[in-house]
Amino acid sequence: MLTEPFATAVTEHRVSAWGRWGRIVSVPATAPAIIGRLARDFEIVWVSAWGHNAHTALREALGLPDVPWRFLPVQFGKARAVAAYAGDRPWALVHDGLDDEPSESGTVVRVDPRRGLDQVDAEKLVEAVHGLPYREIHRRGSRP
């Protein structure tokens, strides 16, 4: 979802999850294709204030699979949470938040909230993350 004033082409969708609230959101026109490409190589997890509602709400707008992706229940310190979830796997976080998300072990892709996923070059990101070494946390942890 983008914040005005948009810096890319968008499509508009009325979204909700199980009723109770609704909102008209704008997503980059390119987002479904980019997410589809990323999903081929990544296990995608949500790290959003929308929590378990995010997938349901945005399923149609983004062309997501029926079975919801997992979500991590954090809103601050997202990179830390993703790193913990990823364990020894390489990871990337696409972040449009206003706060910084410092990270030591993975890639934080900062995007402009007016462009969102549209700014992510999926092929490059896949390549970059494949290039990251698997971390050796288990072995390191067992060292004397």
């Binding site: 005005e4 609704g22 704008s26």
Partner: protein, 405 residues
């Protein structure tokens, strides 16, 4: 089998829990802080007109200690209190026809800080025009004294509001500084954002104000609404839809208008555009006031609208009654002097809050980068602001509700 062992152990206990922190960029209001600079770009109410007299009074606004008075000709003045001669407080000064005289060596300053007299100096100070007591522009409208505390070259026009310009028979605009809508004392002793965010929290209404504490407004408010949220150019809107027992649909439109204007539809559900507007004005990081304007033929209308706690007023309740029938004040003040925002677990029904925080941070960044915040009026021909919040039975036809994220 490490996993099995772990599953048997209690998790999530408070042992070792370290509290989070406030979102500083939206909570702080002092000079030079991101949101403080946003707030300073707009005219802010600082006092009721009636209360500004020839007796100088100390006021604290946006973390700044200032002195407010009215000179002998009736002009209000808002000065930095420390006399620019050698620092005695003008609080002990005496108001005269054209300004205020410092008690120490008698320098006189007008409401714009010009030094009119230095009585110990030859010819009352040959160079007195070289000093200026720091001052802020003030003006009066609708029974309030408004101050502009931002950069002088960006001073906007003080807006007018359609609901206060078009009065019905016998109606007048009244001003109030008793903390209306705060649900507690006149000066509220916690960070203004906790109250400001509450404006975009329509889901607390059926819980706190109805199911939990007994109907504090009207029984219809216990109905859980369907809410749609939207970004506007000038703030955030929530539109709560309730199906009334008689089958009609009620739309309650509330707006948080930048940077601190509450346009909250009457919680007692009187119909039509909202004619009670409230400015949430930070005293400092840990205190704020609410200045409310309302249109009515009855000057007591507002006090009749205040939250009822089992038939009593807030100030009449004892501790046990506060505990049993908490209202906005208890809920919001208990979030902390400044809330620990990073400990929040926001959900999709909190998205009005999320949107507001996001917009505040975005606007703060915009202002820090030299831009203007939204909703400023620089041309008098655009000074009239239309209020869109209110309670409506008919579907809202509205051209200003943008369909944005």
């Amino acid at each position: 089998m490490i996993h099995d062992q772990q599953a048997a152990v209690d998790v999530g206990t408070a042992y070792g829990f370290t509290p989070g922190s406030p979102l500083e960029q939206i909570a702080r209001v002092g000079p030079g802080t991101p949101m403080g600079e946003v707030l300073r770009r707009y005219w802010q109410p600082v006092a009721l007109t009636d209360k500004v007299t020839q007796t100088p009074q100390r006021v604290r606004v946006l973390g700044e200690d200032l002195l407010l008075f009215r000179d002998g000709t009736g002009r209000p003045g808002l000065l930095y209190p420390r006399c620019c001669h050698r620092g005695a407080s003008l609080y002990y000064g005496g108001v005269e026809e054209n300004g205020i005289r410092c008690c120490y060596h008698g320098w006189v300053f007008d409401v714009e800080g010009r030094c009119l007299e230095q009585p110990c100096e030859p010819e009352l100070g040959l160079h007195r025009d070289r000093v200026r007591q720091p001052w802020y522009p003030v003006t009066e409208r609708y029974g309030l004294v408004w101050a502009y505390m931002g950069p002088p070259e960006r001073k906007p026009v003080l807006p007018r509001y359609d609901v206060f310009e078009e009065l019905g028979p016998g109606q007048a605009v009244h001003a109030d500084d008793s903390g209306f809508s705060g649900g507690g004392p006149a000066e509220l002793d916690f960070n203004w954002v906790s109250h400001w965010e509450n404006v975009m929290d329509p889901f607390h209404v059926p819980i706190l104000h109805a199911r939990f504490s007994g109907n504090q407004f009207v029984p219809e408010m216990a109905i859980m609404p369907e809410v749609s949220f939207s970004y506007l150019d000038h703030g955030i809107r929530s539109e709560s839809t309730r199906t009334l027992p008689d089958g009609r649909t009620l739309r309650r439109v509330t707006e948080a208008v930048f940077p601190n204007l509450r346009v909250v539809a009457d919680p007692r559900l009187s119909l039509g555009a909202c004619d009670v507007l409230g400015w949430v004005v930070p005293v400092d990081d840990e205190n704020f006031k609410i200045f409310t304007l309302f249109r009515s033929a009855d000057p007591d209308r507002l006090s009749q609208m205040r939250t009822a706690f089992g038939g009593k007023r807030w100030a009449e309740l004892n501790d046990e009654e506060h505990r049993r029938m908490p209202g906005d004040y208890e809920a919001q003040s208990s979030q902390g002097r400044i809330s620990l925002h990073t400990d929040d677990h926001l959900t999709t029904t909190d998205q009005g809050v999320t949107m507001l925080r996001r917009m505040m941070a975005r606007v703060a960044r915009q202002v820090a980068d030299g831009g203007d915040p939204p909703g400023l009026v620089f041309d008098e021909k655009d000074e009239l602001v239309c209020v869109r919040g209110g309670n409506y039975i008919e579907p809202l036809t509205d051209d200003s509700a943008e369909a944005t994220p």
